[in-house]
Amino acid sequence: MEVLKKDVEIKRHHLEPVQQSVSKKNDVEIKGAFKQFGSNVVLNGIDLEVKQGELLTLLGPSGCGKSTTLNLIAGFLDADRGEVHIKGNNVTKVPPYKRDLGMVFQTYSLFPHMTVYENLSFGLKLRKVGKAEQKKKISKALELVKMSGLENRYPRELSGGQRQRVAISRALVVEPELLLLDEPLSNLDAKLRHELRAEIKRLQKEIGVTTIFVTHDQEEALSMSDRVVVMNAGKIEQISTPTDIYNHPKTEFVFQFIGKSNCFEGKVSAVDKRTISVKIGSDISLVDADNIMGNDSDLKTGDEVKIYIRPEKLKIVSAEETSFSPIDFHRANISQINYLGTSWEINVLLQGKSIQVLTSDIDSSWKNGSEVFIGWSPSEVMLVKK
């Protein structure tokens, strides 16, 4: 039998709802993590702090190091350099089975030879929880994920969504220090994914367990998280709230990875304290001086730059109505109109470049070739030095 690191009698999280606000205390700290597989550097100096009670998402394309980071926290991988601290303890050398965590995997990973009840009691038995207490905790944990009454089913007899619910309650029933979710929704169909997404978010807030969620799905990350960590090529690009990540990306990668984007290339024609003027072809676009991405924010006249705009931030109007301020408008021609149900996606040619506009207002006279004006506010344009 196992002797666990901590006395399990000490209650940490309860399966009863507790309103717990995100405090300033850090539950997880990763310091200077570096990991290499052969010649392939998967983590190139990661520093990460996860606050108590928050739901933090690691987001990025495959191979960015998000799963490696999670495995580092779980203890399935050892970093070549760097340290992992959980609740103030340095666990860098502690094996996973002594870390007292809960984890949900992409492939559900329920023990196929055990019933739902046995799957849930597995961790409790190891913690030497008494039979009666086990029963109480298990029924509470199943109730939490709306799976009561299925105790005697085998995983084989459950649907994908049900399996993942059981997996979540198996992770929670042991009242872990941390909950780790490794792409738990990616094997489910779209409808179930939506449903479980909302449920995980609700559960996490109810129980207040610090949660680290790994996903490559930006919608999932933006909708569920308190904070999002965008990773790329073994490095952290940005850590911030979902709205901040979307509206004020720090780097070009973050802008391109999250949401749709339009890009222009141009030259800085004037710089003052509040705005930067960029010459695109024969037009001039103004950009807020705060909206510079990347590390190099020192711009001079004549610098080559790229500016990025999201399709839904663009205004599209007919030729007559050009009197919005402070938006500057640019002449363009429609090349295609696509109806998306809730909005229209209009492709226009602006200075010879194809630009995508998302709008819910459309002029019924517009057709391919119509001349329109495309405008944007300087505060919604992001700029990066080339």
Binding site: E2, P96, T107, H113
Partner: protein, 314 residues
């Protein structure tokens, strides 16, 4: 109806032109069965001619109770079968065969499982090398291998000499021409079958199950007994069945390693037919051996498939 084979493709065309949904399943059936059956014909004929017919002939022989096979006045009875139960020599031979086969299964299992576990955890390249090593003894003739064992196991062979020179034993152990010798030979010969079937089932276990066990607080030792071992039971069962059936019917190894001291059923049957020319009694013994193997395997499989871990067979 037109002949099926030659016009099959034309008919399919016709049927798809007519919009009659009821004809669909028929069309599908024809497509699947005809080529399949044609491809299987040679092997079916081969098995029928060289296995089913001889087996039926032996069954027929086993019910003839006259020793003179050529006689016209053949008497049919179950005398050959009852003879087994009246003579303790044959009964004890049958029990010996079962006992030796069970020992061989156990030895192969305990030697093979760790190897299988190592293989399942290795990289694809290492696994390839180990497979090659495991299968390589099969390339050597079983007779040659048995004589190899002689060198080691004889009273003045390597093992006895070493043990005696170390002072561990005073007189040579009877390793050869004994039950131990036969078990050593059989488990060695059939070990690859055990290892490969266990590896196959270990390899099918989702690696994240082990991770899930670890995260829930189970040590590697605990994980092995709660997760890996139960989930590899299908491989263990099929490996045991293979080694058991092969050991039950093995002739060369018991004959060479045990000789007259270890009269297992195949050796007794050979003796009856080839030396004593008791074809009918030999045939009955063959069927008794076969029945014993089949019944043992059936009970063994049943116990596991209905037992505590029935879920792992699905």
């Amino acid at each position: 109806m037109e002949p099926i084979r030659s016009y099959a493709s034309q008919e399919i065309k016709q049927e798809t032109n007519q919009i009659e949904p009821q004809k669909e399943p028929k069309l599908k059936k024809r497509k699947v069965w005809v080529p399949g059956l044609l491809l299987l014909t040679p092997i079916l004929l081969f098995i029928f001619g060289f296995f089913v017919i001889p087996m039926l002939y032996i069954l027929y022989l086993s019910f003839i109770s006259t020793d003179n096979l050529g006689a016209n006045d053949a008497v049919y009875s179950i005398k050959n079968y009852t003879q087994l139960f009246s003579d303790s020599y044959y009964l004890s031979s049958l029990w010996l065969t079962v006992k030796i086969s069970l020992y061989s299964v156990l030895v192969a299992l305990f030697l093979g499982y760790p190897v299988a576990l190592t293989m399942a955890k290795s990289s694809a390249r290492i696994r390839g090398y180990i497979t090659l090593l495991i299968v390589s003894p099969l390339l050597v003739s079983i007779v040659v291998r048995n004589f190899g064992w002689y060198l080691l196991l004889l009273p003045n062979g390597t093992i006895n000499q070493t043990l005696m020179s170390l002072g561990i034993i005073n007189a040579p152990l009877k390793l050869l021409f004994s039950e131990i010798g036969v078990v050593i030979g059989l488990s060695n010969a059939y070990l690859p079958f055990m290892i490969l079937s266990i590896v196959a089932s270990l390899y099918n276990i989702d690696p994240s199950l082990d991770k899930a066990g670890a995260i829930l607080g189970a040590s590697p030792f605990r994980r092995f007994f709660s997760i890996t071992l139960p989930l590899s039971i299908p491989g263990i069962v099929s490996g045991c069945i293979l080694v058991f059936s092969l050991s039950m019917s093995a002739y060369v190894t018991p004959a060479l390693m045990g000789g007259a001291n270890v009269p297992v059923m195949p050796v007794v049957i050979y003796d009856q037919i080839n030396n004593l020319l008791h074809w009918t009694f030999g045939s009955a013994l063959s069927y008794i051996l076969l029945a014993t193997t089949v019944i043992s395997v059936a009970i063994f499989t049943r116990v596991f498939e209905k037992g505590k871990f029935k879920e792992v067979f699905r």
